[in-house]
Amino acid sequence: MSEARQQGRLIGFASGALLLLAWAVAAHLHGDRTVLPSPAAVLDVLWREARNGNLWTHLSATLLRVLASFAIAMSIGTLLGLLMGRSRLANTWLNPWLIALLNLPALVAIVLAYIWIGLNEVAAVVAVAVNKIPVVTVMLREGTRALDPRLDEMARSFRMPTLTRLRHVVVPQLAPHVASASRAGISLIWKIVLVVEFLGRSNGIGFQIHLYFELFNVAYVLAYAISFIVVMLTVEYAVLQPWEQRVSRWRRDAD
């Protein structure tokens, strides 16, 4: 097992290296370094921004926003998804609202939030959450609908307390849906945070990316984009994957 995991990590590294290599080759072939700078050039920028502290300021601002919106969107979205998946009536009532919200352009939500709440953090986080909640709701609703009714009956017949039931019967079945909602979720949130920062914040990765985009400095744009990707890769390999391996032990053949 541990050997397999070690090998997995090795392959992961190799794959990442390959990605870098592909980029380096593409940059070399392309020639115009202003359009596609080499990995070395971007790394250099990254290093400079890390040294002078800019990177950390903006990265932490963005991460805080992402985390706050993620927490809000996941919890509200999960609750709504459970409700709509469980109760036909709730679903019939809420569905038109859900579809409307789901397809409300991010720009509209963001602009309205900034206008109503003001140009501040609260508005930024609310705008992102409003964009993300319906997506989580949709995913969790489908998951809830696919719950095994037999296990539900078992839990009912043994009068399992609601919390136990949620934790041991419902959540494990929803886990794949929650996992994909989280992965797709963070990435979506971060994409919206970029827009939110562009439209009305004074710091954050999105702010920087747009700034350097204005200046046509692709190296900086990529450097900041990559800083977040690195964070997400870390989260993926340090948090998500170990967690997934732990909760999916039961799928495996042997102990």
């Binding site: 359009v35 900034y114 206008i115 003001g118 140009l119 009305g200 004074s202 702010f207 700034l211 200046l215």
Partner: protein, 298 residues
């Protein structure tokens, strides 16, 4: 020969371009104009960078920075119209130092030319580090505009047509960028906004660059005097009432640069001053104005 322009469909440049097209000033200047309408400023940059457009509008500070980074871009003057710093009618703010601890809404980000100039101005005249002493809220121009109307922010720096509308609503100018540039030793006649074309075009098809300058000048001459030409433009100006219309018209006319070619020395001194005050953050790698930013005719 065609010359393709990437422009913001709602931008003020479109008034001029539309006039050129309508009165066939392009044909007279020896080229055919083609307009690529875009929904946002970033889009015009992509079109220009991607080679889908031959020209777009930007300010010369931006062009200088690009040149310093090795891109051969050339600036053809278009307008001296710039904004200023506006406060609400009932605001107690009289000078920049009154803004200490307040919130300034700035459209277009920390590299906005008006903001940079005001920053330098504050430092020079009042010894004030405006960036440090106030909170800046950067945002999309319409959002800054709306938040200013809602009094969420204490002062506003925005594109001039938004400022014109605000003035029509009674907002008061604390410092204008013209004032500030004068105080910084700059010729207020130095046009801040202009058409950007590649050096390639200037060198290989000089008649096109020249034609562009001529057509632009011809349109300005017309708009400077002819009210009928303005009436024609009115539908595309998105004005709510006559006051706004007049304010925009006056704003445009005030922004028409003089006939003389750009005073490069004045620009150089301003650039040096800003480089000194703001450092790399503000102007990028070059400490002095790179050569060849301004189009010099033939």
């Amino acid at each position: 020969e065609t010359l393709r322009f990437a422009t913001l469909k709602t931008g003020t440049v479109n008034w001029e371009l539309d006039t050129i097209k309508h009165y066939e000033l392009d044909k007279k200047a020896g080229f055919e104009m083609e307009i690529l309408e875009m929904a946002g400023n970033p889009a015009t940059r992509i079109a220009f960078q991607g080679g889908e457009a031959d020209s777009m509008v930007a300010d010369w500070l931006w062009v200088a920075r690009q040149r310093a980074e090795g891109k051969d871009y050339v600036f053809i003057p278009y307008s001296t119209a710039v904004g200023g710093l506006l406060v609400a009618p009932d605001s107690p703010v009289q000078k920049l130092s009154d803004l200490k601890g307040g919130k300034i809404g700035i459209a277009g980000g920390p590299l906005d030319k008006s903001w940079l100039i005001l920053l330098a101005y504050a430092k020079k005249t009042e010894g004030l580090d405006l960036a440090a002493e106030t909170e800046q809220v950067f945002g999309a121009p319409p959002l800054i505009f709306q938040n200013a109307l809602q009094r969420e922010i204490d002062a506003t720096i925005n594109f001039w047509h938004f400022l014109a509308k605000m003035k029509a609503k009674g907002f008061r100018e604390v410092v204008s960028v013209t004032e500030a540039s004068t105080a910084l030793g700059l010729d207020p006649e130095t046009p801040l906004l202009g058409y950007v074309v590649s050096g390639d075009l200037v060198n290989n098809k000089p008649e096109l660059a020249k034609g562009l300058a001529e057509a632009s000048r011809a349109a300005k001459t017309l708009l400077a005097t002819d009210d009928a030409a303005w009436e024609r433009l009115r539908p595309m100006m998105n004005v709510a009432d006559a006051a706004e219309f007049e304010a925009l018209k006056a704003g445009y006319r005030a922004g028409i640069p003089g006939e003389d070619s750009v005073d490069v020395e004045a620009a150089r001194s301003m650039y040096a001053l800003m480089a000194e005050l703001g450092g790399e953050e503000l102007v990028g790698a070059a400490k002095t104005l790179p050569d060849g930013v301004f189009y010099q005719g033939e």
